[in-house]
């Protein structure tokens, strides 16, 4: 009896180790790990990005001849890997950098993902990418914009999104153009959350605007999880800047707009650096209080029939709302990564890395309004670009640069209906 038990246990172990027999038809799926804050304060943004990446996988895995300008859309699966499908392994890091690290390690060592994508908050991306670097697994950063993430000499980290200095340049260019439109502005205040994202992007904007001759009257760092923002708004009220730039996440952005109304404060220009302002919750909760706010975006739904319009339709079918810029940048990061894996023709990490290094995509091959995708030695996309949009009703419409304008700028910031 005892003997038989041991034999059957040994057989069971042997079967478990060998796994399913090889050569059983279709190519094995290619596993990509996705790290997002699916709960916690940025849960809404993380869920939106997760949905966008899933739509990206749908575009790659199914045949979409109507989007044939996007690499891999026309065919089903990855042609150079015998039509293998992409399987997403999604993990929730709750906005916690140390959880981001442990989840990244779990995806690499236990799920055997061939590449990683994520992770929204720059602080989490900054910490978790070190795990990918150590383990030699490529990591695609779709939306985290702290310059430091790609500035560390890492070999395995690539980033498609524009970053801090790109935004700073855009804001400076916009403020300069305001002068030619007859709305000169001189004084600026920067209000930034105090983790990696806010500190680095806020600091970058400060430096650039000061260099370009603007008077930065205040830079106010704060904790994004705080329960009250009145002190910051009162400080702004006292300094009276023409322009207020927020580098903020969702809950804090909502509180700022509510507090603006309570304290009756309206600067001439309010700029939100994406993130909180682009969270789909922003317009539904405080859109009525933030009319005329400026935001950055590289996403535009486009005309009916266009590829971006089709992509938005897919996203709408899945979530019931339009794609936002942050989620769109993550989807773009995923599509660039999938294209590289296909060109590598292998799931070998070094082959994927080499293919990423060789990436050279033209604007028409992209869903986002970048000027292309080409990585420099640090892994940063040198052709990343951003537009500025303005909140009109419930829509963000492109108002800058002139060449991409959908609608003339409404001046000044109106906030709420009196």
């Amino acid at each position: 009896m005892r003997h038989r038990l041991i034999v059957s246990a040994a057989v069971a172990v042997a079967l478990a180790v060998c796994g399913p027999l090889p050569g059983s038809g279709a190519a094995a799926p290619v596993k990509i790990g996705v790290l997002m804050p699916l709960s916690g304060n940025a849960g809404a943004a993380g869920q939106a990005s997760k949905a966008a990446i899933e739509v990206g996988a749908q575009i790659v895995n199914e045949a979409h001849p109507d989007m044939s300008n996007i690499p891999l859309a026309a065919t089903a699966g990855l042609p150079k890997l015998d039509g293998a499908r992409i399987e997403l392994i999604v993990a929730d890091h709750q906005g916690d950098p140390s959880l981001g690290q442990s989840e990244a390690l779990r995806l690499i060592t236990q799920q055997h993902v061939v590449a990683l994508l994520g992770a929204y908050q720059s602080s989490v991306t900054f910490a978790a990418t070190t795990v990918a670097e150590r383990n030699g697994i490529p990591w695609m950063v779709g939306d985290s914009s702290s310059p430091n993430i790609t500035g560390r000499g890492f070999k395995w980290v690539f980033r498609t999104t524009p970053i801090g200095p790109d935004f700073a340049a855009a804001y400076s260019g916009f403020l300069k153009d305001l002068e030619t439109m007859g709305h000169p502005v001189r004084t600026v205040a920067i209000v930034n959350e105090n983790t990696e994202y806010g500190t680095s992007v806020g600091g970058g904007i400060h430096e650039r605007l000061a260099k370009d001759g603007y008077n930065v009257v205040a830079q106010i760092p704060y904790n994004a999880n705080g329960t009250d923002v009145s002190a910051q708004v009162l400080q702004l009220k006292e300094k009276q800047p023409d322009v207020v730039i927020f580098v903020s996440y969702t809950s804090d952005s909502i509180l700022y707009m509510k507090t603006f109304k309570t304290l009756g404060y309206k600067p001439k220009v309010v700029i939100g650096d994406d993130s909180g302002f682009s969270d789909p919750s922003f317009v539904t909760t405080v859109g009525d209080l933030a009319q005329g706010a400026i935001n950055r975006s590289a996403w535009s739904v486009g005309k009916p029939g266009s590829t971006t319009y089709h992509i938005n339709q897919l996203y709408r079918a899945k979530t019931g709302r339009d794609l936002d810029d942050t989620s769109g940048r993550n989807m773009q990061g995923f599509l660039v990564l999938a294209d590289a894996i296909n060109r590598a023709g292998s799931t070998n990490p070094e082959a994927i890395r080499a293919a990423l290094v060789a990436t050279n995509l033209a604007p028409r091959q992209l869903m986002m309004g970048y000027k292309g995708v080409r990585f420099d030695a640090t892994g940063q996309n040198v052709l990343a670009y951003t537009y500025l949009t303005q909140l009109v009703g419930k829509e963000w419409v492109t108002v800058w640069p002139k060449s991409a304008e959908e609608r003339a700028l409404a001046w000044p910031f109106q906030g709420w209906q009196p």
Binding site: N41, A44, V229, S230, Q232, S251, G264
Partner: protein, 287 residues
Amino acid sequence: MIVALQVVVGGLLLGAVYALFSSGLTLIWGMMNVVNFAHGDFVMAGMYLAFLAVVWLRAGPAVFTGVAAALLFLFGTAVYYGLVRRVMRGPVLSQILSTFGLALLLRYSAFWIFSANFVTLPTVALSGTVHLGPVVVGTAQLVAGGAALLLTAGMHRLLTATALGSQILAVAEDRQAAMLMGIRPDRMQALAWGLAAAAAGIAGALIATFYYISPTVGESLAIIAFVVVAFGGFGSVPGAMVAGLLIGLIEATSAFYIGPVYKDVVVYALFVAILWVRPQGLMGARL
């Protein structure tokens, strides 16, 4: 000078909201020696109930606050009979972990039902502002602050000046002796849970008039509630009120005059200092 006044008034109102938020917690903690880690999520439930009452019934502030209070009262008693009564017989650790588990259950149920998206109450009667001389305050904050004072006073009176309150306190002090006096301890403790949950519901509904609502909103506010209750003195309802006001005031002034990132340092340094001098809290009974 006007700005200083604005900072002080804003801080006191914020403090009143903290006190309002903490009122239910102090009752459970003080009266039953159970730490209700789900308190923040009770408040979150109150916020969503108010939201649903506004969306479905187009209810006004009085109605949606009442709805949230009534439903949470029922929920509180159900939690007592279904969960707390049983785990109270177990080791202290299981008492702590059971309310923690309840917190996660509520939070992730909210994620499931309402998704992670933030919502706010549609514009309600309270969304205006009031000018008190040169100082501007939100009507909603003013109402919430006033309600916090009333609720605290009401709860204090209930516990100290009514037979029912004496019975609740008697059970808290000595369950066996209370039973010998003809008090049914289960009924009193269920009532205490019901009242605490109803207070959390009222707090949630009122805070929702000027705050955002999300499944995790209770998490960020709960830490303050624990500090307020410990600061004010375990089980002291007026203590929680004073502590709430004090913390709101210190937060607002330090955030404005020193900087928003330093306010927590100031608040918690003071918190530790006061507990060092008075371990029982500002108004707690000497241990």
